[in-house]
Symmetry: C2
Subunit: 343 residues, 2 copies
């Protein structure tokens, strides 16, 4: 049974586990530094499909299938699927759900979706609303470019602050179990807007939301950055990460060397032409499910604060001169369940 | 604490209440038969805003403000906001959430969003994940036409099966209380696709999902249509409603005269030029929050199955030749809490 602590944080007292997880990527991810940790990588970013949207459906479905396979569970055992993506009307997730036949909660949290879905899955299992939940999300470079910026054929030039949408997906199966990684606490974010209007600089638009959520978490739990091995943001990229660290310094929580960003980890910016780093729902999802969760499982990382961030604008709101609102949801992932720590 | 019954249904044993609710509409809703039950109606569908998207933000915010006001609660007391809408990247809900500062779960369930948000709010309160939640959604005729079909200026002709997107919003505040309406049970839907590809006939695309969810609910709870005063679908319209009733007849659950559809109630099809009836997230939401909930509160209606339905396609998936997947989530609303009935 979850227990509220402070203003905005819930302790998941039973500490549900991520019993299965998988990460899927394509060409750009395959030449990145985390390639060896992915469960499935393809040289063909179309995955043999006829449209980029269908390719994205393929990769999200693949991640879910592999996550189920890795924990020996069947889709019929799953009580709920929490999923969303970046495309208009979240079609990747809807068409994946059509094939799965699992009761489906469609989400929209932009690039914060991996956090949003994982928080809900953890809360549902902890409070016995469900026994098994899937949390998943995906993004595809080509479908996202068409959706948010220009069709690839146009060859639009990208500013140095722009990020590269990850062609990838991550999926987690959450259930009660005595094996790490455990979900220990969640802090659901509020929408924060510092007035950034440059859609070529999403990191800057999302950084204030990340700073706000994690500051609230530290206050609610009376902990500090040093209590964790890693503070992992979703896809702030180079520009957003620097801004996030500066905001945290100003808030009295200097992060020193324990902050890293999935957008900076998935690609090698010195060799790959990805400008300010990776982005997209699939960025945080695939880095979490490839590189991070196994390290928590084997206790190399003991306590991680995972916080995917989302920029909640649309091309229409941007054209109408609106600024970009951001959101960030936080999950405390641990090698130990809450109860064990308390003893 | 929720209790699973059958395959897909959860009984909300503590039976949370909808302690506050409000419905907002515009010009077309003001000349409809339910006008007298709305909390706020405007002759100006722009609500004084410069763009249709900003008008939709205004109306969703207004519904939430009125729902809070009617139960004497403040937004600071709300633990979570569950909201979504039809626009790309769900901007109406995101920009409303920016003003509210309530921890925000962004949803995408197309026109099923009122059910999806209300189910989550009920499950959260029942399992003590939250004390107070807001469930809300909205749609706007003009922003939806631009999004899904043609800009209004184009003057595209609509087929007789087409429905008219409601310019409206509904919001519910859910909490523990001893006053009706109570949330007694929920059945979360799976995605169902019968292969309909005509985006001018969404009712037909959604009807199979509604039939599937409610059949599952009857099986899970061992009840039948006669046990309820009203079975209320979201926005199947004229064509979809006939199809839904025929499917239910075939499934062995003839609905006789207890089925109605929000899309057929909100407008007078003999006087208003709305073709097959109303649609949009705001249709089910505003009919529920204007006409239905007060009747449950005063026990004129004792047991209602509310089921908003969503069509999960996008213009892109349609252009790519994909069929339209549908989803429907069911809520059992009652004048009595679960415990009282059991005694």
């Amino acid at each position: 049974m979850a227990q509220r602590i402070g203003k905005q944080t819930l302790l998941l007292i039973s500490s549900p586990s991520i019993i299965g997880y998988a990460a899927v990527g394509a060409k750009q991810e395959k030449i990145g530094p985390l390639a060896g940790y992915f469960d499935y990588l393809s040289d063909d970013s179309s995955f043999g499909e006829k449209t980029w949207e269908k390719s994205e459906i393929f990769l999200q479905k693949k991640a879910i299938e592999l996550a189920l396979q890795k924990c020996g569970k069947k889709e019929e055992q799953m009580d709920y699927l929490f999923a969303g993506d970046l495309l208009n009307q979240c079609i990747s997730s809807a068409y994946v759900a059509r094939e799965l036949q699992t009761p489906f909660f469609g989400l929209y949290g932009a690039c914060s979706t991996m956090s949003e879905s994982l928080c809900l899955a953890g809360m549902f299992v902890d409070s016995k609303l469900a026994e098994h939940c899937i949390a998943a999300t995906s993004s595809h470079f080509c479908s996202a470019e068409r959706q948010f910026r220009y069709p690839l054929e146009y060859g639009g030039q990208r500013p140095p602050t722009a990020q590269w949408t990850v062609t990838g997906s991550g999926a987690c199966v959450v259930a009660s179990s005595c094996k790490a990684p455990f979900l220990r606490a969640v802090t659901i974010g509020t929408v924060t807007d510092f007035g950034v209007t440059d859609i070529g600089n999403m990191g800057a638009a999302m950084a204030p939301a990340a700073a706000k959520t994690i500051t609230q978490f530290f206050q609610d739990t009376a902990t500090k950055p040093d209590d964790y091995d890693l503070i992992l943001t979703g896809d702030l990229g180079f520009v957003g990460s620097r801004l996030f660290e500066r905001l945290m310094q100003e808030d009295g929580y200097p992060l020193a060397n324990i902050h890293n960003d999935c957008g900076l980890m998935i690609y090698d910016r010195s060799k790959q032409d990805v400008h300010a780093g990776g982005s997209g729902c699939g960025c945080a999802a695939s880095v979490l499910c490839s590189f991070i969760l196994p390290q928590i499982a084997c206790q190399r990382l003991k306590n991680v604060l995972f916080m995917a961030t989302g920029a909640l604008m649309s091309p229409t709101s941007t054209q109408q001169g609106e600024s970009i609102p951001g959101i960030a949801h936080l999950i405390h992932l641990s090698a130990f369940p809450y109860q064990e720590e308390v003893k």
